[in-house]
Symmetry: C2
Subunit: 235 residues, 2 copies
């Protein structure tokens, strides 16, 4: 049912009028790549003013076009945010995939994936907030849904590796993925919102340490029960 959909993303370097790298057919014209510029400007503005404080007209101004130019690329303010969210999900998935590289130990891989999720939330806070803003949530397109599904599938596949390595109990992979994502996501949200600022446990830790804490706790909960000896032949 879920298709590992194709997530395109264009790197956000200042492209110029004349040469647009590889453009699927229709962008770039008078301006250069207005669509790209608007998305970039939107992200910058949101980093300063928040999602609610973002205005289409200000993005247009930042891109140096008239206040109605954005409507040639996005049907509405909300849809601009949705497209940004789609791009964000793609970047997040990349980050998750890259985080596990070079790590052979399956259990540690899981932890690293979790830390990557948290790192993304902290480093790309504005983007992360857009991706999970309730405004965007109310207007999800099928493309955004597919991108979110891909994230879940990645958690699943990462856990399946752990299952096969005998690190966690067999079965219930989906359940574990659900719990894992939830814990990571909740921790990231609470941290970004500052809800935990007054708690000793969170105030004195870096976010990625909290991610590790969360993941380790979970793994303790779903790991192979009470193998009295860990003869499990260290690979």
């Amino acid at each position: 049912m879920l298709t590992m959909s194709t997530l395109f993303r264009y790197k956000s370097d200042m492209s110029d009028h004349t040469t647009i790298p590889d453009n699927p057919g229709k962008i770039a014209f008078h301006h250069g790549d207005l669509r790209r510029s608007l998305l970039d400007a939107t992200l910058s503005l949101i980093a300063v003013n928040g999602v609610q404080g973002f205005t289409l007209r200000e993005a247009a101004r930042a891109a140096g076009v008239s206040h109605n130019a954005p409507y040639r690329h996005f049907p509405s303010r909300t849809h601009l945010l949705v497209e940004l969210a789609i791009e964000g999900q793609g970047l997040l998935l990349d980050a998750l995939k890259n985080s596990g590289k070079r790590i052979v130990d399956p259990r540690e891989r899981i932890v690293r994936v979790g830390m990557a999720y948290m790192d993304f939330a902290v480093k790309h806070t504005a983007l992360f907030r857009v991706m999970f803003s309730s405004d965007v949530a109310r207007n999800r397109t099928s493309e955004l849904k597919a991108a979110q599904d891909a994230t879940f599938l990645h958690f699943e596949s990462e856990l399946r590796a752990n299952e096969q390595a005998g690190v966690i109990r067999e079965g219930a992979i989906q359940e574990h993925a659900l719990v894992g994502w939830s814990a990571l996501h909740g921790a990231a949200m609470l941290i970004l919102d500052g809800v935990l600022d007054n708690t000793e446990v969170a105030a004195h830790r870096k976010p990625r340490e909290i991610a590790r804490l969360v993941l380790e706790s979970l793994l303790n909960g779903i790991q192979q029960p009470a193998q009295p000896e860990k003869r499990r032949s260290s690979k």
Copy 2:
């Protein structure tokens, strides 16, 4: 524009014009209790239009007052939302406290608290969204912070009971509270945003069952090691 210049609109049930139940000194006057009416109207409107779609003037209209009357009770649109969030935190804490009543088994109590959190998010979605909207998060008052701290403290105290009952390992109560809240909060958020709609594991379960799933997984991770007793089966 409808000529509402003759807009001496006496609210129908204004008999309590003179007698306001227990009013700390200053509210209630011309209108009755405009502050309360505005908060209620705001909540209703957000349930329909979302947080971003909420507008001060519409709330004023719903309360039957002029578009500037709200400024006598709230300094700005955002502060209205913050006050709503504070009230929401209070209600949430009440729900959490009530959920554990009559349940003696400490482990089951924890699970019930988690389900209550999820129930609250699902039942009072609009309020929950306000409480954790990024707009509110950027403008937290000390009062809101205190209300959020109280929630954390409640999770802590609930866990401490489990510790004393020998259900979970000793120490690290704060860490466990952090992980628990994170997992609950993340699950609630992902569910409300519909992010998990395409996953079998979440689509076929009621939110409160997911809350139970999350909590049971966590408890397995922090419970006393190797009680050679039967382990409970999660259905």
